[in-house]
């Protein structure tokens, strides 16, 4: 294991790279100052004020002014801006003469995150603009500020995003991506380390070392992997919760337990993969398919409840799905472990999977011939 640089790369360097990559990429938590444009055909102090106010929003930065909508659209198509705000000619005049002008804003929703965040800001701005116009006329009629606000916005929504009040994307994604990458690499390394014995025809020798017992041989091969991977698992836990101070309301111990379960479950899954498809190539293909799909199927970015019912069932066959649910219950929300017992049981089942396949695997190790 130590002799080949491949193992060092896949077990240490690659996970480390991904931990650092994801956390630094989304280091700001929430994107700020995303570029938008303004199409101001009104050219009054009111419309300029509106553009300035929009620029003052934390996530929005007005980077350009365009004379026409079609030029703004072209700028959007070439990726210079993520959205634009359109104030048609005569807006201010219409407001003053109570003729209800219409302003509009355009967001590029092929970039979903940028689009949604800008939508929020520009909608807020539009509400405020409308409110400011109404407030001016209320003040003129002699209303106090409290009266005016109560008239303008009788019902206010007071939002509490529980345990991630900053809407931090790094907290949202890295907590599952770090173990996800680790899981993918565990699949690959487990499949590879067993498959390569078959390929190089050293499988019998390996079995002999374990007194011809497949259990001893497997344990002897995989336990060192477990140790290294669990160490890498501890590392990301310490990094995320200790160093970056991501919410960890359960304390770190339940998360370490969950990490250990994930490492063992992934190894169990890996043994199952090479056991069912004892060709190195096919085994690794299976591992890549399962590993890469895990990121989508765990229901992190696109919730499982919105998927096809068949996929919702299938999602249970991915260890990362269970780890994700455990993480949400424990570290994010700080619920007692009992609430996620079913996911711990699922991970335990994944650990037991090698027992199903062990005889087939032994047969493959002794009799199987590698076909390139």
């Amino acid at each position: 294991m130590v002799s080949r640089p491949l193992y060092l790369f896949c077990m240490v360097i690659a996970p480390l790279f991904c931990y650092v990559f994801f956390t630094t990429l989304m280091g700001s938590g929430l994107p700020v100052n995303m570029p938008i444009g303004v199409v101001d055909q009104d050219m009054t102090s009111t419309s300029r004020q509106l553009a300035r106010n929009l620029d003052a929003f934390e996530q929005t930065a007005v980077v350009a002014h365009y004379p026409t909508v079609s030029e703004a659209r072209t700028a959007m198509q070439s990726g210079e801006i993520y959205g634009f705000y359109y104030i048609p000619q005569g807006t201010t005049a219409k407001v003053q003469s109570q003729r209800q002008p219409t302003v509009s804003f355009y967001t590029n929703n092929t970039l979903l995150i940028a689009g949604s965040l800008l939508y929020k800001d520009m909608k807020m701005m539009s509400e405020l603009a409308s409110g400011a116009a109404a407030r001016a006329s209320l003040y003129a009629k002699g209303a106090t500020e409290a009266q005016a606000m109560a008239f303008l916005q009788p019902i206010v929504i007071d939002t509490h995003p529980l345990n991630n009040p900053w809407l931090n994307y790094s907290v949202y994604l890295c907590n599952t991506f770090a173990p996800g990458v680790l899981m993918l690499l565990i699949f690959m390394i487990t499949v590879y380390s067993i498959g390569v014995e078959i390929k190089d025809r050293t499988a019998r020798e390996w079995l002999r070392m374990g007194n011809n017992s497949i259990y001893i041989s497997l344990a002897g091969k995989l336990l060192p992997h477990t140790a290294v991977f669990f160490l890498m698992g501890i590392l990301y836990n310490v990094y995320l919760y200790g160093f970056l101070h991501f919410p960890c309301n359960s304390g770190i111990l339940p998360m370490l337990l969950a990490t250990l379960c994930l490492v063992l479950a992934s190894q169990g899954m890996g043994v199952l993969m090479i056991g069912t498809l004892p060709t190195l190539r096919l085994g690794l293909s299976f591992a890549s398919l399962w590993g890469v799909l895990s990121f989508s199927m765990c229901g992190l970015s696109f919730p499982a409840m919105a998927m096809h019912p068949m996929l919702q069932g299938l999602a249970n066959l991915f260890p990362l799905r269970h780890y994700f649910l455990i993480y949400v219950d424990q570290a994010l929300n700080g619920y007692p472990m009992a609430y996620s017992w079913i996911n711990y049981v699922a991970l335990l089942i994944f650990m037991m999977l090698p027992f199903l396949i062990v005889h087939r695997l032994k047969g493959a190790l002794i009799y199987y011939k590698y076909v390139p």
């Binding site: 790279f17 994107p31 219409t102 092929t110 979903l112 993918l184 799909l293 609430y339």
Partner: protein, 410 residues
């Protein structure tokens, strides 16, 4: 040995080029492993991904209600929230503790709390509030709950304002509620769909990754079969760098021209994703992308010693590469270091260009920076490929000479 004229050299080179091209074609279609990556994966992966995200957006997020107001107004509010497409009220709880329990048991993803003085405040002409508590395990839950509640509150606010204003005409009512009206337009992805946002990027990435894997695999095989574990065989056809690189590149290009048509045109059509790009522009754009990917993969494949190592090295990069493209995490918010780092990979420019052409209807003018970057990448990686192959040729000759000397010395 007689000296060849320049013309003869070129003719011989072209002959060898096609010989190598045929040879590469043959190994590609004989090798089950390469076929998996060149045909099966590009065929299946897009279908799987499109199927996962086919519902585009989330509907009917389960929420629970704690209503201390028990008034006609609070009931109206909750009825309207329940009627919105995004939220479904699954239970009315007696108190917050019960509601929290529902959250813990994963029966709901949000709590809507209506305080006792909700209706009274409105009647007294004071501001009132509704509190919303969201589970943050998925941002789409949060977005759905917030959107539904915001739009219901705006809607009811308008009604309340009209009631209070005591206007005489309908037009006056409209002006009271919105002195300035506004419209929001979600360009290029009007349903805010997840598939329409993610799938185009995944499609482009699949092309690059399968090329990396397939070429890596065939290089690994070539080395394993070679007596000296070298990449370039000793053969009179294989004695020029240019002919090897172009011959191999051409055969990959021909396979991938077909694969690209399927991945970039057929798949979006199958799942009726947004597809407003002009085919000629798309073809023009795909050309440098494929060239850049092929030469990039050929350069990277030099690190591959064994048949299967490429999978261990390349598969895990897919997820970071998707993020590097700036499609999900906006490029404007990316740290500079990672932005420059992303310029190494053809997928960065490929994804950005393809999304703009395919989903936003851009012309080559608008994607000019990406288009140019892809040609530059194709050029640079062509040179590096030539470089590493040249090195490999020298290496393999050295091995042969060594072996020969050893043989002679005995």
């Amino acid at each position: 040995m007689k000296q060849l004229t320049f013309k003869q050299k070129i003719i011989q080179g072209i002959h060898d080029l096609f010989y190598i091209w045929m040879q590469e074609f043959r190994t590609t279609f004989r090798d089950q492993g390469v076929l998996i990556f060149f045909v099966l994966v590009p065929l299946m992966y897009p279908l799987i991904y499109a199927f996962i995200y086919t519902n585009e957006t989330i509907r009917e997020v389960p929420a629970v209600v704690v209503d201390y107001s028990h008034s006609a107004l609070s009931r109206e509010y909750l009825r309207k929230v329940d009627a919105s497409p995004e939220v479904k009220i699954v239970s009315y709880c007696a108190d917050m503790e019960e509601a929290k329990l529902m959250l813990k048991e994963r029966l709901a993803y949000g709590i809507i709390y209506v305080p006792a003085d909700f209706s009274d405040n409105i009647a007294q002409g004071k501001q009132t509030q509704v509190s919303l508590f969201c589970d943050m395990s998925g941002l789409l839950y949060y977005k759905a709950l917030l959107n539904a509640n915001t739009s219901v509150s705006l809607d009811m606010n308008a009604d309340i304002k009209i009631q209070r204003a005591g206007n005489s005409t309908h037009r006056q009512d409209e002006i009271t509620t919105y002195p300035i009206k506004y419209e929001d337009v979600a360009l290029f992805n009007p349903t805010n769909g997840f598939a329409a946002f993610l799938i185009p990027a995944v499609l482009i990435l699949i092309i690059q990754q399968t090329l990396l894997l397939g070429i890596g695999l065939s290089v690994g095989t070539a080395r394993e079969h070679n007596r000296f574990r070298d990449l370039v065989p000793i053969n009179r056809h294989y004695n020029g760098t240019l002919r090897i690189v172009l011959g191999k590149g051409l055969s990959y290009f021909m396979v991938y021209a077909l694969v690209s048509v399927y991945v970039l045109c057929v798949v979006p059509r199958l799942f009726s994703l947004i597809q407003i790009g002009r085919p000629d522009i798309l073809a023009l754009f795909t050309l440098p992308y494929l060239a850049a990917c092929i030469f990039f993969a050929m350069t990277a494949s030099i690190a591959i010693r064994n048949r299967e190592t490429c999978m261990l090295l390349f598969v895990f990069t897919s997820v970071p590469l998707l993020f590097l493209s700036g499609i999900s995490w906006p490029g404007a918010a990316m740290p500079d270091f990672w932005r420059y780092f992303s310029y190494i990979f053809p997928s960065t420019f490929g994804i950005n260009g393809f999304v703009r052409i395919n989903s936003m209807g851009a012309s080559l003018n608008e994607v000019a920076p990406e288009y140019r970057a892809l040609w530059i990448q194709a050029g640079i990686y062509f040179l590096t490929t030539c470089g590493v192959y040249r090195w490999q040729i020298i290496q393999s000759r050295k091995h042969v000479i060594e072996k020969y000397k050893e043989y002679k010395g005995r």
